[in-house]
Amino acid sequence: MTASDPHAFLALDLGTATSSAALVARVGHRWRLIGALAMPAAIEPDAIVELVLERATIADPNLARLVGSDVDDAVRSLPRLTARSARPQRLAVVAASERALVPLDDAARRSGWLVTAASPERMEPLAVTRALLDPGVDAVLVRAGEPPGPDERRSLDEVAALVAAAARRRPELTIVLAGAMAERLERFEAAGEHRQGEVLLGPSATSGEPPGLPLRELLEDMRAPSGDARRSIAQAAGALADALDRRVEIVDIGFNGGLRATASPGVGGARATVSASYVANACLVPAEVDDAAVDRVLAWSTFPIDRHRLRDRLRELRLVPWADAAGVGARLRLAAARAALAVLIEATASQSAEAAPDLIVASGGAWAVAPGPAVALAIADVVRRPAAVGIALDHARLLAPLGSIPDGTERRQLIGDVVDDMLAPLASVIIPGGVRAGHSAGRLTIHAGTGSTDLDLVPGSLELVDLPPGEVGTAELRFRDTVRLGGRGRHFAIDVAGGLGGLLLDLRDVPLRLPDRPDRRRELLEAWQDSLWVTRDR
């Protein structure tokens, strides 16, 4: 907090495409979310704040008076927690062989950098020099194995000389020497006394547990030293896991990248353990819409569109991310978000190997305009693991500003207070794995406060069970054959909580298999999505 003992504060998440403002106030003995609004980043945050405060005052003048949000200068006088997205940056990754390049490339791509990878096997020295001198490159990571492999020794000196020469010509570049390249530090120190950029000795790309973690942490620090919204979200993941005492996974898809943060609650007074990956390529639409980007989105499209027109739509989406958000525009965003999420999941295979989370939280501007249940389905389509999970949405974009609170205890306390307000429950999803094809795989019985529901389990189907937010129940599943659902078995009893989309019983394949024919695939995706696009025109 920036003021001592305030009754209310503003939480601002200032992203590249979206600015959001939320009013959080102490009501009774706990913090509550009073109101929030998200708008295009081109709009002044103060104008958004003013509208939030105005609406809060109209909705409940007494509360506004109590928390002090109705005073004339509240826009300026209320304390603020602000998280800003770091600008996208490019890292040139250079190694003396393709083999040595692979772990570097992986570490760089999972720490949020846009990456230009180069090795003598891939590019000739002139092209590597051109890449390093490109003003779009912000830092260079150069590595040799410890000890250098036979395939590296031949060109190690040449690579070191090339990078050192570029460092001399671009004194603002930060250079990281990893592995045996650290032995050539003198060459880089001689590159200039008046360098503004640092020359850092980095850990090996394969050291640490899991391998590469220390290098990734260094690269994350370089990319966004402090206050970056996505790093704050990762910190919030730990606090959320502790507050809920559940395994939590946050998937954030934004304009310039994605984040996957998995957190397990601390045991015996220990703090939560968090692992986070930042993937620049998992952005809603890349800066240059190439064929691969078009193909990725086309594969998830739920409306008929040819490649040229889709490319144009994606270019427009990149130029003006909030425009044309109604109608097909909303479906395009959800298709692009699915494609970005697939990139994120593919880039973070090690996190997929961890235990399945109890709760997945969707965050970021990509999910802003679709109805909640459709967002839940989009996540279930891509993040497919045989498990029962709850899916929620950070609808007020509070995770980043609250995660930016430096004190861990205060952070956990605040998130514990507002957790029910900040997370909109979208759905509970049950995804059994290894369901055999056939007419019926078994029976499901839902015991909830409103009574019991009985359903046939049809392989390949997506069943919706009405279970409103706030309601809890038990899903009793009896399969004919053994399936995977957390563990292996035939009979399962799972506690489920309601959401905007109720309970989704997802008996489709894990991973999802879709028809090869584009029109059939599109029809199938559209049918599934339409059943959950609850606000569609009828």
Binding site: L37, M39, P40, A42, I43, E44, A47, I48, L51, E124, P125, L126, T129, R130, L133, D134, P135, D157, E158, A160, A161, L162, A164, A165, A166, R168, R169, R170, V289, H308, R311, D312, R313, R315, E316, L319, V320, W322, A323, D324, A325, A326, G327, V328, G329, A330, R331, V369, A370, P371, W533, V534, T535, R536, D537
Partner: protein, 345 residues
């Protein structure tokens, strides 16, 4: 009318003051100006290597004082007894890249072309292998992208004020002819790659257009690639895209600026993309405060007057968005998502 909430509409800056413009230098390209130099349109800024390649030369030949990024010329130094060039023949000059194993690698080539500045200004920085940065004199109207090479010409309007909607510029039929050689033509809402190729062949220097579809963009870039590879290049040519990929007329405040500049010398620059003009005598009145333009959705390209905030509204397809009332000419104002609107300043 109601000015309530117009600050929640994104503002697009119509014209900016003096702007830094960048000309990319690749390794081997030779800058011909230095920081602090004053340049006028047509001044040669750099020599670009069209066929850059790597070659080697003995370190002893180059000298101990040599630095990466420096120029080396065989004529300036006596040849070593073992011969200065080993792998290649004919390389007599180039840019030093790095030294390893007692040999310097340098970027060299046989064919160079001169790049001229289309604008006047002062050279702020020269970084061999990276860029020349120039502070341009005059004002700039930004676009979203520009393709081709920086260019200069007399601005000509190949478009008229649209009828019906009464706003923006739309393409005038049959407006391309050889009489426009040397000019930069404003063509309105959209253009095809074939027309761009024809315009270049007719000697036009550039095109200003509201939108360029992806297919046309790809075809034009392929044509540009072939043009660059050709031995004898045609004069510079550039396409400045003002809005994006979807068809829409040029916004009326932008059209007003372009009409004021018709018949005057302007330049298209590519980094950042924009139209630069140095006409201090032209005074540009700000557009009405309540003028808003719809840049996406059902009414894309239309303009109207801001009537106040409409709150959260349900739009087609069941999407709920913050909206504003806009009078677009009908009997009553319509609710438009705030994010689909822009105003000018």
């Amino acid at each position: 009318m109601n000015d309530d909430g117009i600050e929640l509409v994104s503002r697009r800056t119509l014209v900016e003051g003096p702007t830094d413009i960048r000309f990319v230098l690749h390794p081997g390209d030779r800058p011909l100006v230095g920081a602090g130099d004053t340049v006028v349109p047509g001044t040669r800024l750099l020599e670009r290597l069209r066929d850059a390649r790597l070659t080697e030369v003995a370190a002893a030949t180059v000298g101990a004082e040599a630095q990466p990024g420096g120029r080396w010329s065989a004529a300036e130094t006596p040849p070593a007894t073992s011969g200065p060039l080993r792998r290649t023949t004919g390389a007599t000059a180039g840019e030093l890249l790095f030294e390893a194993g007692g040999r310097w690698r340098l970027a060299t080539g046989d064919h160079v072309e001169s790049i001229e500045t289309p604008v006047a200004g002062v050279v702020r920085e020269v970084r061999p292998g990276t860029a020349i940065t120039l502070q341009a004199e005059g004002r700039m109207m930004r676009g979203v992208e520009a393709h081709g090479d920086p260019t200069r010409g007399v601005l000509a309007l190949g478009a008229d004020r649209g009828e019906g909607s009464g706003e923006g510029l739309v393409l005038r039929h049959g407006s391309l002819d050889v009489g426009l050689a040397g000019s930069i033509l404003v063509v309105g809402s959209r253009i095809e790659a074939e027309t761009l190729t024809r315009a270049r062949a007719m000697g036009l220097r550039g095109i200003v257009v509201a939108s360029l579809a992806g297919k046309e963009r790809r075809d034009f870039l392929a044509s540009e690639g072939r043009q660059r590879a050709a031995l004898h290049r045609l004069p510079t040519f550039a396409v400045l895209v003002l809005d994006g990929a979807f068809r829409r007329p040029i916004a009326s405040p932008v059209a007003t600026v372009l009409q004021a500049l018709a018949g005057r010398e302007v330049a298209i620059v590519t980094d950042p993309p924009g139209l630069v003009f140095n006409e201090p005598a032209i005074e540009l009145a700000p557009p009405p405060w309540d003028l808003v333009r719809i840049r996406g959705g059902e009414h894309v390209g239309r303009e109207g007057h801001w009537m106040g905030l409409a709150g959260q509204r349900r739009f087609v397809g069941g999407t709920f968005l913050e909206a504003g009332w806009v009078h677009v000419g009908g009997p009553a104002p319509v609710a438009i998502p705030l994010a689909d609107l822009e105003r000018f300043g």
